[in-house]
């Protein structure tokens, strides 16, 4: 569907408006679907962020049930999927049947909008629309929409970034074993796998992880990896050496 000038005007004006309204990321996605991009009969929206460990978690969504989100959850940058292709190749649209998303109605399209920040793609917005977006015929408009959406999103979600994390005055001091565990967490190992790899008890790994979390002032594995990476505690050769040992 090619937009008329009045429709283009409406989409951008509503995007301007939403961009300056204080609301959560989830509410923004909802407003984006029903308001700014309502002309495409937008059914749902999902936003994925790229973490420093290259995992791609679902940050927020609008209009989908939990089961319908499943196909795109828990992705990794190294995988090949429509979402990771958006991170690598930018703006694209797929017919529902080509999207690998069984829950989407046949007559719909899935549009993938890259969210840039400082010329890097830090997130991807996925929207499901009932009207053909015809991206190739109106690429400039969609590129501008993607940038406007990106501007609104990065003000509501801070990707992992040295500028968004204030390093503590004193760097946490970890033992060699704790650093080894941290490195194995970063490559995606479970506590059981780490215990086996390092010849430690399962509960020992859990205890050491608590020490690591406390030292990094975090509460999840993803946060720990992100923060450790920003502090320069993760060296690329580390996990490989341990894995090869």
């Amino acid at each position: 569907m090619l937009l008329t000038v009045a429709e283009e005007n409406h989409v951008l004006t509503r995007l301007f408006h939403l961009s300056t309204i204080e609301m959560s990321l989830g509410k923004f996605l909802g407003a984006l679907c029903v308001d700014a991009l309502g002309v495409f009969e937008t059914r749902s929206a999902l936003i994925f962020g790229l973490e420093t460990d290259f995992s791609i978690p679902l940050l927020s969504q609008f209009g989908l049930k939990a089961l319908e989100q499943a196909p795109y959850q828990d992705q990794h940058y190294a995988q090949d999927s429509p979402v990771t292709r958006c991170f690598k190749n930018g703006l694209m649209a797929l017919a529902a049947e080509d999207s690998g998303w069984p829950g989407i109605d046949k007559n719909h399209w899935v549009v993938f909008l890259p969210v840039h920040r400082r010329q890097s793609v830090v997130a991807a917005l996925v929207i499901v629309v009932a009207r053909d977006p015809e991206i190739s015929a109106q690429e400039l408009l969609w590129t501008t929409i993607a940038r406007g959406v990106a501007l609104a999103i990065v003000s509501r979600w801070q990707p992992a970034d040295k500028n968004t994390y204030a390093a503590p005055a004193k760097l946490p001091e970890f033992s060699t074993r704790e650093l080894d565990i941290l490195l194995l967490v970063a490559v995606g190992m479970s506590n059981h796998q780490i215990a086996k790899q390092l010849h430690l008890g399962f509960s020992t790994v859990g205890h050491e992880l608590m020490v690591i979390f406390k030292g990094l002032e975090v509460s999840t594995r993803n946060e720990a990896v992100r923060r450790a990476s920003l502090l320069g505690l993760l060296t690329p050769e580390g996990p490989t050496n341990i894995l090869e040992a």
Binding site: R118, L140, T144, L151
Partner: protein, 175 residues
């Protein structure tokens, strides 16, 4: 082509995209304002900009400027929201205004001493959730109208200015 105020010129979509990109690619206030001025200058001729943040609901503080002389910056570094000045009026009225050089001096005769070299000015408020947080004035060295500088571009500048202001350190405490 004739375009009424509030109108839309298709190729302004690209300029709006560039304004968004400038805000995304730069994070520092000075860098972002410089990049925005560059986009404006490239498409609409050399421009100057004064960006203000609203402090304590009554005072306007100059946050960043580009292209205006040092004396203009010093004279208007801090002004009241209730002063009879273009940015103050625009913020209070919540409207974008366009002035020719003559029109500006007619409405604000006290500015005649500045001997500004610009031929046209746009003044716009910035809001967050509908509440004023600041505003800006852009000057151009040639005359402008809605045809050669669409309102949509000014509106996208308002969005960019909103992001500059809200990225200020201590924004919630200060502005």
């Amino acid at each position: 082509m004739s375009v009424k105020i509030g109108g839309f010129i298709p190729n302004s979509v690209g300029v709006i995209g560039e304004i968004f990109a400038a805000s995304l690619d730069h994070l520092g206030t000075s860098d972002t304002v410089r990049a925005l001025s560059h986009v404006l200058s490239e498409h609409y001729g050399t421009s100057s900009l004064l960006l203000y943040g609203l402090k304590n609901d009554t005072s306007l503080q100059l946050v960043e400027s580009f292209g205006f002389s040092e004396s203009v910056q010093n004279q208007f570094r801090s002004v009241s929201l209730f002063d009879k000045l273009p940015v103050s009026d625009s913020i209070r009225e919540g409207k974008i205004a366009r002035f020719s050089a003559e029109g500006l001096l007619e409405r604000y005769p006290t500015l005649s001493d500045l001997r500004l070299p610009h031929a046209s000015f746009y003044v716009a408020p910035c809001t967050s959730s509908g509440s004023p947080i600041g505003g800006f004035i852009v000057g151009f060295f040639d005359s402008k109208d809605d045809e050669n500088l669409p309102l949509m571009v000014l509106q996208s500048l308002q969005v960019a200015a909103f992001h500059v202001l809200t990225r200020q350190p201590g924004y919630l405490e200060v502005f």
